[in-house]
């Protein structure tokens, strides 16, 4: 018999230390900009549009070309008609005859050193003929508004997008459940309001960088800071197909990534290095974004104007929701349209509502392209929904937490698009958070100018992925029974490599620190869709588990051939094969996983153990009725949670301080508690930053005014809540590895509404536009006092 219980896990669920830790504290970790390319390396500087919307009349590159050290200067004419896009091919590699946002790439100067490239780029003269620019998505909907893309109807896109040619609507996701037209008549109380969410920047500390080499043999290699090496390879191959380049000729290598948050998903600036390299055979070309470019020419989080109409019974039961979400998707929506799609499908929030109408509209504007950002549209929608719940509960004099518990979606409930909710610990999360924050207990500040309030919010999110997004893994044993696992999902800080090592370690009973998990190289590592959507612990984790099971089966079969035990009687323990029937039998893995097993006649049996595993969610489908979204199964599962905080508000200045924050998540099965808590604490602060500090400001010409860390304030050490309590709930995901599901993005989702709700609880004002700054709170308090005084004067 095995000495341990069947269900006892040795490595999964344990806070084993990170397998990338020595790399990262010793300075050894290599990021894309740290790689050496030798003396032939070229540097590209990009000339950018100064106009939000204009025709390019002429480009004069003659002065730039004469500058010492300059190799070539390129414009859109060198890359005619070259477009790309993940979900919709609407984006131009270089602007053709027209620019659509301030910062769009118009020309490139390639030089022997960065200084020369920069100097020469300033000499490129571009003459523009300005066109009317639309900088606001609500204006873009006006019938007389100029079109950002006249050829919208011609762009290719995934089958689940519904662009409206002849308008600025690039995609319109409609969800209809129940009978919305009559539902509001059943309601005892209806609340309608509009919520505004601005654009946000990811602010990974590592800027984007990509180096591409088109060698003399005709193959192209790209080294990039990337969440999506395979998706990039595919888009590069598609883009370069006219040159006769096929997928096998494109190689993407992604070393450690210095923070992603969605910003390094898909393809953005990397394609510039690729196309420039195709014109400069044999010379690696590097494109490195400055912090400014990082702000205005990568994806930004989309801005939102959300109109929420909710109808409830007097006991707090939600009967109807009409949610109209207008997304400012920017000049190109090739990735951002999927944010609109995903958030639209789930814009009910984690509630069981019988009658739903959701219109999620992806709208072109002349602002930088919107795209993936940790949370993928859910934060934006939850600000309105969770603020609304609070307001309705207070109006009905029901406890807001009680109202949430009453309406919370439960296992098996029908989702807005008709399929069923997965196993969920949402109610457990609510109860644990309410207990930890001492919900209902009013706290008072000793300072008479300060007031303390509490805010609560629920959240959920599903991975937004195509139905056939898949993951795969190779697992190779080494002579000493250590192993290398090859996957193409990415370590972006979340601890992915360690989690995969733990999963394989559990199956093969080899300690995680004998396992290396390699960062992606599309020549060597097998396919992965992308490191996005909080899906890789689940999806890639499943592939790694299957690869480990495959290896295990080979190991047991090999030993069975030689020792004639039944494979079913053998098991792995402590890096050895053991046999239930023969307690004395203990064969170390290192004795045979490469060399095979020796026979008496000097021959060997078996040989190198190489496991393979793949995973695709075969039940998923994005096809449904375009008018209702009913009929498909677009989301694989939801991760749910609840959060609350205690906030101190200074009534004179509006200044806020988070005294305590509590967040509970249902992780299904926590693979590594320390790393999961690290995600929770880090993500929560990133969420709090969007509501308390950050905000992208544009002027009336569409130029971003704060593209740097001086004017766009991300939190520092001094902005951390005084206390954060992470809570991990485990209701297993049936198809997850050991029951796990993802939690990375979810951690930041509840931040904005719980701040707005806590502000209201503390000082009685309701802020409906993010960010909730001290200035806004102070002005709202003044306004509320003025209203009060005026009412007093009239009575």
């Amino acid at each position: 018999m095995t000495s341990k219980k069947q269900d006892e896990l040795k490595y999964v669920g344990k806070s084993v230390s990170r397998i990338d830790e020595m790399d990262k504290v010793s300075g050894a970790a290599r990021y894309a900009d740290d790689l050496e390319f030798g003396p032939n390396l070229l540097f590209a500087e990009i000339v950018e549009s100064t106009q939000a919307h204009a025709l390019i009349k002429s480009i004069d590159t003659s002065a730039a070309e004469k500058e010492e050290g300059v190799v070539r200067v390129f414009t859109g004419k060198d890359f005619p008609g070259l477009r790309f896009g993940l979900y919709m091919q609407d984006r131009y590699v270089f602007a053709q005859n027209r620019v659509r946002f301030v910062g769009e790439q118009v020309a490139a100067v390639v030089a022997r050193c960065p200084k020369a490239a920069k100097r020469a780029a300033a000499l490129v003269k571009v003459e523009y003929e300005p066109l009317p620019a639309v900088l606001n998505q609500m204006n873009a909907l006006n019938s007389d508004c100029n079109l950002v893309h006249e050829k919208l109807g011609e762009y290719s896109h995934v089958p689940w997008f519904f662009p409206k040619a002849g308008t600025n609507i690039a995609h319109w996701r409609k969800v209809r459940k129940g009978d919305i037209s009559n539902a509001f008549q059943e309601a005892d109380f209806i609340l309608e309001d509009t919520y505004n969410v601005p654009r946000y920047a990811h602010c990974a500390i590592e800027p984007h960088v990509a180096t591409a080499l088109f060698d003399h043999a005709g193959r192209i290699t790209v080294w990039a800071s990337s969440q999506s090496p395979y998706t990039q390879r595919h888009l590069f191959a598609e883009c370069l197909a006219p040159l006769g380049i096929t997928h096998k000729d494109v190689r993407v290598i992604a070393p450690y990534v210095g923070g992603g948050f969605g910003g390094k998903a898909g393809v953005t600036m990397e394609i510039l290095a690729v196309v420039l390299a195709t014109k400069l055979k044999g010379m690696p070309v590097k494109v490195r974004w400055s912090r400014e470019q990082e702000f205005y020419n990568t994806y930004q989080r989309l801005g939102v104007v959300a109109k929420v109409k909710m109808g409830v019974k007097s006991d707090g039961t939600i009967v109807a929701l009409d949610h109209k979400i207008h997304w400012d998707a920017g000049a190109y929506v090739e990735y951002g349209a999927n944010v609109v799609n995903a958030a639209g499908l789930s814009a009910s929030g984690p509630y069981n509502i019988p009658h739903i109408s959701i219109d999620s509209m992806c709208i072109y504007t002349n602002l930088p392209p919107g795209g993936a950002y940790r949370g993928f549209g859910y934060s934006e929608c939850l600000f309105g929904i969770e603020s609304h719940i609070d307001r309705i509960a207070r109006h009905l004099k029901i406890d807001p937490v009680e109202m949430r518990r009453k309406n919370a979606i439960r296992t098996g409930d029908i989702l807005p698009y008709g399929s069923h909710m997965n196993p969920s610990g949402l109610v457990e999360c609510i109860d644990k958070v309410a207990a930890e924050i001492e919900w209902g207990k009013k706290e008072m500040s000793k300072d008479p100018t300060k007031f303390i309030g509490k805010g609560f919010a629920l959240f959920w999110k599903a991975p937004a992925m195509p139905p056939n997004a898949s993951s795969s893994a190779f697992l190779k044993f080494n002579e000493d029974a250590s192993m290398n696992i090859l996957v193409s999902a990415m370590e972006i800080g979340q601890g992915f490599l360690t989690a995969m090592a733990q999963i394989a370690a559990e199956v093969l009973q080899v300690p995680p620190h004998k396992i290396r998990v390699e960062t992606p190289d599309t020549d060597r590592n097998p396919y992965e869709w992308q490191t996005v959507a909080s899906h890789i612990t689940w999806g890639t984790g499943n592939a790694v588990r299957r690869a480990a099971l495959d290896a295990k089966q080979q190991i047991l079969e090999q030993v069975a051939r030689v020792h004639h035990y039944l494979a079913d009687d053998m098991y792995l323990d402590n890096e050895m094969v053991k046999c239930k029937q023969e307690p004395a039998f203990a064969l170390p893995l290192k004795n045979f996983v490469i060399t095979g097993l020796a026979m008496e006649d000097g021959t060997y049996r078996g040989g190198p153990i190489i496991g393979r595993g793949t995973f695709m969610p075969e039940f998923s489908s994005a096809l449904s009725d375009p008018e209702t979204s009913q009929g498909g199964h677009p989301n694989v599962h939801y991760t749910v949670g609840a959060a609350a905080l205690t906030l101190e508000v200074d009534k004179e200045t509006g200044k806020m301080r988070v005294l305590k924050a509590v967040e509970a998540l249902d992780a299904g099965k926590v693979i590594n508690p320390d790393m999961a808590k690290g995600q929770l604490v880090g993500g929560l602060l990133q969420g709090l930053a969007t509501v308390l500090y950050e905000d992208m400001r544009y002027n009336e010409s569409g130029k971003l005014l704060n593209p740097n860390f001086t004017d766009y304030k991300i939190p520092t050490c001094k902005d951390v809540p005084l206390e954060i309590v992470p809570i991990l709930v485990e209701v297993p995901q049936p198809d997850g590895p050991f029951g796990a599901r993802g939690i990375g993005e979810h951690t930041m989702l509840p931040a904005a509404p719980m701040i707005a709700n806590a502000v209201h609880d503390a000082v009685g004002v309701r802020i409906v536009s993010m960010p909730v700054t001290a200035e806004k709170v102070a002005l709202a308090i003044l306004q509320s006092e003025a209203n009060h005084t005026a009412r007093g004067a009239h009575s």
Binding site: D23, V25, C203, I205, G493, G495, M675, N708, P715
Partner: protein, 152 residues
């Protein structure tokens, strides 16, 4: 122009241009990659190094200024064994993507060099010039508090 300096316990001399920035020289001419570029204007602290024992942003220092200086990067801190700060960073998982870690370790090393027992407030103050987008800072503050008072 030629500059002579000490780098990670080794005497070095190097030809630099008057407008060369120390950050670029360390990375591109010397090959030390632990200082990272996050902003190129002194906002983020990812390129921090110790210059005569003080934590400075190498993107704001001209290479011509380092004549006679003593420079230490993270490669130099952990040359023989990990320092107490580095060990505490491991214990507390005080990094995720790791990009800010070299700069954080430099800032924390400087703090503990001058203040053996900083309280949490002093730790926050000392690290407030180094940005991290992943961890939420909590484990970094805990790591520095753990490292305080330990001799290397």
């Amino acid at each position: 122009m030629k500059v002579r300096f000490q780098l990670n316990n080794e005497k070095r001399s190097l030809d630099v241009e008057p407008n060369d920035v120390l950050f670029d020289v360390l990375r591109d001419k010397i090959g030390l990659k632990s200082p990272k570029c996050g902003c190129d204007r002194g906002d983020c602290g990812a390129c921090s190094i110790l210059l005569n024992g003080k934590s400075v942003r190498s993107c704001l220092v001209l290479a011509a200024e380092i004549e006679g200086a003593n420079i230490v990067t993270v490669e130099g801190i952990g040359q023989t064994d990990l320092s107490p700060v580095q060990k505490a960073f491991l214990d507390k998982n005080a990094f995720q993507c790791g990009y800010c870690a070299p700069g954080m370790i430099i800032a924390a090393t400087e703090l503990l060099e001058h203040n053996k027992h900083p309280n949490a407030h002093e730790v926050r103050e000392a690290l407030s010039g180094n940005l991290c987008r992943c961890t939420g800072y909590t484990p970094i503050i805990e790591a520095v508090c753990q490292a305080r008072g330990r001799k290397s």
